[in-house]
Amino acid sequence: MLHVPGYYEYCCRVKVVAGHDVLERIPAILERVHATRPMIVTDRGVAGAGLIDVMTEAMGDQVTIGGIEDDVPPDSSIEAVRRIAEAYRNNRCDALIAVGGGSVLDTAKGANIMVSEETDDLMAFSGVGTLKRRLKPLIAIPTTAGTGSETTLVAVIKDHERHQKMPFISYFLLPDAALLDSRMTLTLPPAITAATGMDALTHAVEAYTCLAKNPLSDANAVSAIELIAKHLLPVMKQPEDRDGRLALAVAATLAGMAFSNAMVGMVHNIGHATGAVCGVPHGTCMAILLPYGLEYNQHRNGHLTAELLLPLEGADTYARTPRNQRAQRVIARVREMNQSLHDITQGQHPRCLRETYDRDGNAAVPFERLPDIVAAAKNDPAVFLNPEDLDDEDYRMVLEHAWAGTPLDCTRIKRG
């Protein structure tokens, strides 16, 4: 049953070009936005994997590249933004092409503000509604199938001096085009394919089951879930499956459209906090926490979770499963997916917080840090649109179960 709210807003105006030979179209796409000298922004990982070479080769000599900045840090910082803006000006570029994940795109968005507004004070443009006109053309080429940031109007940039993450929110920050080419995700390592795929799944599931859902975001979410359910495990087993890779990239963009309009809930709320306190990668947090979010909210939105069994497991299973067991089945299916990803990656994809490790092989989330995660979660606004409220005790309970990898005890969930 479609839920039609009495009021909602939906905006999605990014041109999407998807296929196996999209990179060849870059010159034409640049021409359409009247740009002739683009600057390429990326990070070391992407450049090291040879993806920029794949791209420049596909573009041929029809475009003069104004410069390649390939050292965006994992956390988009104001220093990187300044450096790129300066290079852009020195090389007289007239467009930006961001090749990478969320931080690369955010950095490119920040640099775009500086060069378009001709300012040295980026922070003067932070917040909502401070940008008043179109910026320089920006093209996004995602290299992970997960964040969906190519469809969002937000950029978050870290100000190291003030120790703050500054948000910039404006429709002018939406890229002019998002290019999804299967070649860009073909070499993504298995553990990252798994984590980013589960991040995209979480975007779609939370958009569909939380409070700001609407028929337009629902349509995006359901298609995204179907594509991920169908292609994530096959791609894990066969990484060079080009059609599967493209399907996952499209799913991530669809999920991005869903959640940038319908927002997210407690899975992202606790996930942001776990990432901030313990440094666990975002997608990993999502994979682990998704079943817990669905379990915790079940008394509120179980009927919505139940509907997701159709895109997740197909018509036969949906019809065969009694109505009152469908939500449970969805939760079980997400856990099975995590188990399969764990098996295929030989344990690199963790099933619970206890199984996450930092670079030196130490436990990333020691049990003693759970109270710190609770404190951080309380200050994250993603919880506003979660169907059920969480107090300190609730956060603690969810985290303890997610840490140990045991299902929630439904009798301990407060119903008010």
């Binding site: 709210p5 009495g6 807003e9 917040g127 309380k378 506003f384 649109l385 169907p387 059920e388 407060k414």
Partner: protein, 179 residues
């Protein structure tokens, strides 16, 4: 076609009443926050987590009624008035228009639904907004009868009877006499 069918009629009289209704509600709520910070431990804990002299306002755009509350001391609060232009505010939460404010203050739309429908503009640090929302929830639970409060907040808490009954009376009295 007659004009009335094409343009929605604007009735100044009714909008005046709505403004008055919202003014009284906001005034009382601001005073109740001050009272609750003296009486309720959880509200005190929230204020303790906010920076010194932290000032926040809740109100209606544009130029509608507001209340402004400031943290005073370690964990208490002071209602400091209705005029948001009089002093700088760290966090401003405003309904986009009168009608949106009415939907919430007549309990036809609870706070989560109002957020989902993007009725409020939040200007300031979001982490502090989270604290303020929790304070507002607790104050609403004190001020409103259970049946109405259930519509206003996401989950009606199970407090011990003493917290609810004794504190509620104390908050009502303090709000009225402004202490």
């Amino acid at each position: 076609m007659r004009m009335e069918l094409v343009y929605r009629e604007i009735s100044p009289g009714r909008s005046y009443l709505k403004r008055a209704y919202l003014s009284i509600n906001l005034w009382f709520m601001g005073r109740a926050i001050q009272a609750a910070a003296r009486v309720d431990d959880q509200v005190r804990r929230e204020f303790r987590s906010l920076p010194d002299k932290f000032t926040f306002a809740l109100g209606i755009m544009p130029e509608g009624p507001h209340f402004i509350v400031q943290k005073s001391g370690v964990d208490s609060a002071r209602y400091i008035g209705r005029c948001i232009d009089a002093q700088p505010v760290d966090l401003k939460m405003e309904f986009k228009h009168l009608e949106a404010g009415m939907l919430t203050f007549t309990f036809r739309e609870n706070t989560p639904v109002a957020t989902a429908r993007d009725r409020l503009v939040v200007d300031g640090e979001v982490a502090y907004a989270c604290s303020v929302v929790r304070i507002l929830d607790i104050v609403q639970i004190y001020l409103l009868p259970k049946l109405v409060a259930r519509l206003a907040v996401k989950r009606y808490p199970r407090w011990p009877l003493g917290r609810k009954l004794i504190n509620r009376t104390r908050i009502y009295w303090r709000s009225l006499i402004g202490y």
